[in-house]
């Protein structure tokens, strides 16, 4: 890759952090996975082919680093020391007026959570996501759709939710 690495951080840093947090929760582990992902990416950067889909590549690296972090820390994720002012509820149930959906993502069943993380947040196809988390592309498609539906229910205030499916 002949582009300055800084451009990749600019363009994809937030997406990769969302993926890490969707997989590992709003935890220090997610921050560690983000760091490990970009250190590995920086190491590989000069040898990466120019036509690489950088975001998809980073998301796959993030998947491997998330697994490494879980293995290395094999302990319950602990919250990071300093969370933004909009710290979501941590009991897995979005509070009324929750400014964001992180707790609802954390509350999803694991397959749905991973399918949402890699497909809807990370932008991988169902086939690519299935290659990472196992199962068929169809199963991943269903898990991602079910997960997204649950998130929409958590996000939209009941009064304005248009028709249920």
């Amino acid at each position: 890759m002949k582009q300055p690495f800084e451009k990749a951080i600019d363009a994809h840093g937030p997406t990769v952090l969302r993926v890490c947090r969707a997989v590992l929760g709003l935890t220090a582990d997610a921050d560690d996975a983000w760091s490990e992902t970009f250190v590995a990416a920086l190491r590989a950067w000069p040898d990466l082919p120019d036509d690489t889909n950088v975001e998809a590549w980073l998301v796959r690296v993030a998947h491997r680093k998330a697994i490494d972090v879980i293995r290395a820390n094999s302990r319950r994720p602990v919250p990071v020391d300093v969370l933004p002012a909009t710290t979501p509820s941590t009991d897995g149930v979005p509070h009324e007026g929750d400014p964001d959906l992180w707790s609802a993502v954390a509350a999803l069943p694991e397959r749905q959570r991973l399918a949402v993380a890699y497909h809807y947040v990370g932008g991988l196809s169902h086939v690519e996501t299935a290659a990472l988390i196992g199962g068929s592309a169809d199963a991943v498609r269903r898990a991602a759709a079910d997960g997204l539906k649950a998130l929409r229910r958590a996000y939209a205030p009941p009064a304005t939710e248009e028709g249920t499916r």
Partner: protein, 204 residues
């Protein structure tokens, strides 16, 4: 298609990531990259009386000073091609350059004492550029005089090219090279910047 089954929903907006969080992760990454010797090029910007400058350094030293009119994105793309694409925005290695440039613009410094990396220029151009610090603060030399200085008295045009392509303007004082008729000649930072620098040094 899933887009028909699942109505549009701004998942990204509903899962906010704060700029301060990315900034702090970025600082951690820069420290880690430095420790792992992956930090080939660092850069930052500096506000000066001549506008915002971009400063870039390798482990060997300051490798580039660029004016805004050169377009920083283009400048970084060139560094990526010719030096290394392992480029991070971080002040690492640039503290001395910032301090000396601040002192220079405040009128408290007449020469630079910085390690320089000349990898963005080669051959005769590099030879010319390395000779330029011999033109002292507040003085000027003509393109012809510089050509004579490097032992190629007829290479006046090539000296002009070497000045125009100086990767380290201000620090390597190509602004002190003017035409033999006394007019300023061109400058990578623009004619106004050249006038300002020479006036500031008391050479105008």
């Amino acid at each position: 298609m899933t887009s028909n089954q699942i109505p549009a929903f701004d998942l990204t907006g509903a899962l906010p990531v704060h700029a301060t969080e990315i900034d702090s992760l970025h600082r951690r990454l820069a420290d880690r990259a430095d420790h792992d010797e992956l930090l080939d090029v660092t850069y930052r910007t500096l506000d000066t009386p001549l506008g915002t400058l971009l400063l870039a350094a390798t482990e060997r030293g300051l490798v580039r000073v660029a004016y805004e009119r050169e377009e920083f994105e283009q400048v970084l793309a060139t560094i990526a091609q010719r030096v290394s694409p392992r480029i991070l925005r971080t002040p690492t290695r640039l503290d001395d350059a910032v301090r000396e440039l601040d002192e220079y613009f405040a009128g408290r410094r007449r020469g630079f004492d910085l390690r320089l990396d000349h990898s963005l220029s080669g051959g005769f151009r590099a030879e010319v550029q390395r000779s330029l610090p011999t033109i002292g603060y507040g003085h000027t030399a003509s393109y012809g005089e510089v050509a004579a200085l490097v032992g190629r008295p007829r290479a006046v045009r090539a000296v002009g090219t070497a000045c125009a392509t100086n990767p380290l303007p201000i620090v390597i004082p190509c602004h002190r090279v003017v035409r033999s008729d006394g007019s300023l000649g061109g400058y990578v930072g623009g004619a106004d910047a050249k006038t300002t620098l020479l006036a500031m040094e008391g050479a105008a």
